[in-house]
Symmetry: C2
Subunit: 356 residues, 2 copies
Amino acid sequence: MTDPFTDDPTMPQLRKDPITGRWVIIAEGRAARPNDFDPVSEGGRSNCSKSGKQQRPDCPFCEGNEHETPNEVIARREPGTQSNAVGWSVRVVPNKFPALEIEGGVNGHSDAIYRAMPGVGVHEVIIESPKHLVGTSELSVAQLRDVFWMYRSRLQTLKEDSRLAYAMVFKNVGAAAGASLEHLHSQLIALPIVPTNVLDEMNGSLSFYDRHGCCVYCDMVERELAAEERIVLETPGFVALTPFASRFPYETWVVPKIHAGHYEEIRDDQLDDLAEVMGQLIGKLESMFHQPAYNYIIHTTPFDTKKPGHYHWHIEVMPSLTKIAGFEWGTGFHINPVPPEQAASMLREIQIELRP
Amino acid sequence: MTDPFTDDPTMPQLRKDPITGRWVIIAEGRAARPNDFDPVSEGGRSNCSKSGKQQRPDCPFCEGNEHETPNEVIARREPGTQSNAVGWSVRVVPNKFPALEIEGGVNGHSDAIYRAMPGVGVHEVIIESPKHLVGTSELSVAQLRDVFWMYRSRLQTLKEDSRLAYAMVFKNVGAAAGASLEHLHSQLIALPIVPTNVLDEMNGSLSFYDRHGCCVYCDMVERELAAEERIVLETPGFVALTPFASRFPYETWVVPKIHAGHYEEIRDDQLDDLAEVMGQLIGKLESMFHQPAYNYIIHTTPFDTKKPGHYHWHIEVMPSLTKIAGFEWGTGFHINPVPPEQAASMLREIQIELRP
């Protein structure tokens, strides 16, 4: 029997669960991704490649291998150098195995139970260094600043595309955190709909705003700075804290001290500060654990929210030290064996010297 | 500064995130769990212990080592055998490293932002065989039936405790699925609140019921049996299908064909049928992948829901073949590289012979 939902298997498809409303992306092309990680290695990263070597002939993200990726979208480059050639410091390319495709309409298909729409969107990779580096501590603060500058640039551009409702910037490091290549990179996925988890945060913070007349993140920052016990570090503009209801051991949020809804509106001087706080924080994690696997995610306001008085952009950093098991899947609860107060205390004690 | 939220670090604590409302369980005691799995092994299960040996001296779940666990709650035993001694076929014990503790009140603490309550509840382990078996295919159908019988028995008993609102039965197999011991076992956690994900399913199915006048699962079963393409197998009383919006490759749901809200009301003859369909399904997965890591979870109606016309108990089986990465954490979306139609077709083709 022909099913209208499965007539074009080459195009990724967004499908909605009829009970919970959660979305999935069915993307067959993703199965063909290359993998730096031995399938039996775990937790941290592969042991076979050391970052001592500056370039690796088989790494598509290394300088000199620019032809191994799709054509670049944008790069920070030395004056006079050419696209898709050497001379860049941060380079953005389309993901070769995208979860979504930019070509195509957004008209969906539905029946009494099911709903699907074409998997239209943008899936990009931000390559964070021309050298084969695998630890964020190996980046200078200036290089890290360029990475955060690039996120801002991409969000500003993608916001202009009326088909897109949200862009999520995230980083996967290590096999346990879902990375398939070890060369330092982050990713960006822009979607035609606002994701469920983002909607939950929008609704939750709006509800708090309605009840208390202020932003829940602003309130939280003030309370945590006063109590101190969950503070990891502080700079003039940012605070890194382990959240009260941390899902994961050593989960840490980096939050601007002054209210700001959209990441893409970050000022140049704040970028310096953000590079410093993120470099320090990840340096602490990399110093505490050997090559830790982790994710970080920029949580920001949807493109079309004009007055985000209730929502506050921030970055959630989540080390992959525990496994998600049946209880977590079934309940939505997380079991965390390390109290955030203890995690903050341990992270505070580690001193990190960043390269300028 | 003393924080009223952290004054008793020995008791697990339920904490609520002030933005999303999601709960976490902070349980320090869990960090001390023993581990069968080499920290660098991945995906499947450890290679060092084969189930050829019937007992293992260092396995707390093996027959003869009953003193290694807390005192048993209940067991199916040969007549005349004693508690906490040999002679059992399925044995239920309190988890030695519980996420929750049964002693204690349910009075919480909250301020303008945060909310916490004592981690009161039940955390039990259902040991599925006296022998050191690690694959469900190694159990006979009769033994598997005893396991599903035991789940029913525990739910019926715990339902009588007025402090408990929900009990979740789940199974973690393999390190990648969050198991720490390989000897076949499942777990049960009973909670003083209905978990978020269960509430989402209750609300979603109630909304469908209000709009369409029928249970969404009943409708789905009818539609899938007619279309056939996502059916894995069928018995007189159950259907195993790969859901339309499958989050994971080879995710399969086992659903009763006739409407039923509460798992604990399953009839004896349905237990035979359920053991057959679950044995077949997991046998197929174990035949397709070498010692696959997976979870299964019984989704059932909260204890105090008297007329669950809208909700239909079922079991979700989820192989751990993909990693949860930043995109999934940030959005709540899942990226699945194997369309459920393809997964069902491959699972259908595998023939399994169960031991009676």
